[in-house]
């Protein structure tokens, strides 16, 4: 090989190396660092005095963390189910050869352009008990109407579900719409000619054919739900009290305001592990399919 040829051969590796180095350090190195930290007694600063699983015991003894995990189950579960159903429903409606399809699509999609902070601030206004939804419904004549979810510790978590679903449903719709346009139309035509009623065509043929889209939507929604931090901060600040605490807000306050670096690292590690349990099998399947194709 001539020197210039050798240079050409080394170019791809050379081009990749800065990104790979950055990802090796800032993704995998940092994961290792945080995981390591979670086994130490670190308080305000990182110290490497290993204490075994002490921080994890403290984490799961902390009622605030238990609240955060329970909220994650409520919020995550409802967010995934409602957003998937609503997104699919809107996608099916839009796929009925309607007029002004582009306008409708834009209306359902625009919340996705907003930040969680903006979404939180908007819904804080809409749901505020003084001048918001309650006030509007009462002024329409329903005097006894009450809607105090935002300030009710038992119900505040559901306001986060409402705001979150409003923001993500359009994106889920776009995923399903793309899937619907890929369904084999010949089979559908045949089913209709055979006299199958339209709802049966959907429940028996179309929705089963969308299985890969359900999986994609689930992975994206689960990922957004576990990461979700800004929405809670902007909408409820974790309150009233700690009633809308999520693992992400718990991790932040332990790490940056409570000087409990070890507990913060342990909670982050638990978050990563839960998400990895969902993501890794999905990525593995995707890449394996890719290679076969």
């Amino acid at each position: 090989m001539t020197p210039s040829k050798r240079l050409q051969a080394a170019l791809p590796a050379f081009v990749l190396s800065p990104s790979l180095a950055a990802i090796a350090i800032c993704v995998y190195g940092f994961i290792a660092y945080t995981a390591l930290l979670s086994f130490t007694g670190s308080k305000m600063f990182a110290r490497f005095d290993f204490v075994g699983l002490r921080q994890y015991e403290r984490l799961f003894d902390n009622p605030r963390w238990i609240t955060a995990v329970e909220n994650m189950a409520i919020f995550g579960g409802l967010y995934v189910v409602v957003a998937t159903c609503l997104g699919l429903y809107i996608a099916i409606l839009i796929d009925q050869k309607i007029r002004l399809e582009g306008v409708f699509r834009a209306i359902f999609l625009y919340p996705m352009a907003l930040s969680f902070v903006v979404t939180g601030v908007i819904w804080q206004w809409l749901l505020n008990p003084g001048l918001g939804l309650e006030h509007m419904v009462r002024s329409l004549g329903w005097q006894s109407f009450t809607f105090q979810w935002l300030v009710d510790p038992d119900w505040a978590i559901y306001t986060i579900v409402i705001a979150g679903v409003w923001q993500v449903a359009g994106f889920v719709m776009a995923l399903f719409l793309a899937g619907l346009r890929g369904v084999d139309t010949e089979i559908l035509r045949a089913a209709r000619i055979d006299g199958a009623p339209i709802h049966k065509v959907y429940t028996r043929i179309v929705i089963p054919a969308l299985r890969p889209v359900f999986l994609t939507a689930f992975v994206i929604e689960a990922h957004l739900a576990i990461k979700s931090y800004d929405l809670v901060v902007a909408l409820t600040k974790g309150g009233p009290g700690v009633s809308t605490e999520l693992p992400s807000t718990f991790m932040y306050s332990m790490t940056f305001t409570r000087n409990e670096l070890g507990v913060g690292a342990a909670s982050a590690t638990v978050m990563l592990t839960s998400l990895a349990a969902i993501i890794v099998p999905y990525l593995y399947a995707e890449l394996r399919d890719d290679r076969r194709a």
């Binding site: 081009v15 800065p18 907003l114 903006v118 206004w125 339209i198 889209v213």
Partner: protein, 303 residues
């Protein structure tokens, strides 16, 4: 916005030539549902705009969706010019500028790197490339809480703690995972014969990239730019963790303005601040949303 008209399922069912009562009912049902849902999705935006144009007296006397009787841009002017965010009382304008200073370089660098990485992964196959690509993909999905503590340390070591270049660096690092994925998934759909022919003709690494791939990859460039810009513009977690005082992005400033104000809540100012933070990304979606949707539909959902 009339992308993807292709093979609608409804079209396959055959559009009714003459509407019999059942079909007519069906159409009314579909449009009825869509209009109600669209109204529900638009109501928050409408309320935000109208509330931002009201005085506080009018907010107290009106409702969420009442039209402002005496529209005023006072709330907008106040949050832009003079609202107090923690101790500084210069309004949101500086933070709005910060977000551009963070988002523009972070977007350009991460899209450029992602294009090159995607090109290598799709075209210049090597042993273990799929595993490596999988490791990068996993980087897209990690909860960012796992990197906050060491990243704060690294930025401190580099002397970038609390600065705008520091935030650009952070966004580039975690953005590259996404842009690499977008470009790689787009480039693998380009027929391999094109590369073979180009190499037979003597085209090298850079010639293939700049002369052959780049000219046909504008759809994915658009997707990557929109994704990265909105992602960085809308970021809160990195901003609140790594930026200090006057280098904070708009999202952090808006949250401080809304959630740390004392006394009675000025909802008109809250809504004006939210609008200011939302405008750039809304403009991008209105102007380029269809490219985004088209690109996403081509890449995100397989089969």
């Amino acid at each position: 916005m009339t992308a993807v008209p292709d093979s609608s399922f409804a079209m396959a069912l055959g559009r009714p030539r003459s509407l019999n009562p059942t079909k007519m009912f069906g159409r009314i049902f579909v449009y009825g549902c869509l209009v109600v849902l669209a109204a529900l999705f638009l109501a928050p935006l409408a309320s935000m705009v109208m509330t931002s144009l009201k005085s506080m007296e009018e907010i107290r006397s009106g409702t969420l969706l009442s039209v402002p009787q005496a529209p005023t841009i006072e709330a907008w002017a106040s949050v832009w010019n003079s609202a107090c965010i923690s101790v500084a009382c210069g309004g949101l304008q500086g933070y709005f500028g910060n977000s551009f200073l963070i988002a523009v370089p972070a977007t350009l660098i991460s899209v450029g790197l992602g294009a090159l990485n995607g090109y290598v992964f799709s075209t210049w196959r090597f042993r273990g490339d799929n595993v490596l690509f999988g490791l990068i993909l996993f980087g897209c999905f990690i909860p960012l809480q796992i990197v906050l503590i060491p990243m704060a340390g690294l930025l401190g070591m580099l002397g970038l703690a609390g600065t705008i270049p520091g935030l650009v660096l952070v966004h580039v690092v975690y953005g590259v995972c996404f842009t690499t994925m977008f470009f790689r998934n787009y480039f693998v759909t380009v027929p391999a014969e094109i590369f073979k022919a180009a190499r037979v003709d003597g085209a090298g690494f850079w010639a293939i990239f700049f002369r052959i791939l780049l000219p046909i990859s504008w759809p994915i460039v658009m997707v990557s730019i929109i994704w990265q810009f909105t992602g960085v513009w809308n970021d809160f977690l990195f901003g609140v963790s790594f930026a200090a005082g006057s280098s904070q992005p708009i999202t952090v400033a808006v949250n401080n303005l809304v959630n740390t104000s004392t006394g009675t809540k000025a909802y008109n100012e809250d809504m004006a601040a939210a609008m200011i933070a939302a405008l750039p990304t809304i403009v991008i979606y209105v102007a380029a949303g269809r490219y985004f949707l088209r690109g996403l539909m081509a890449g995100a959902v397989k089969g």
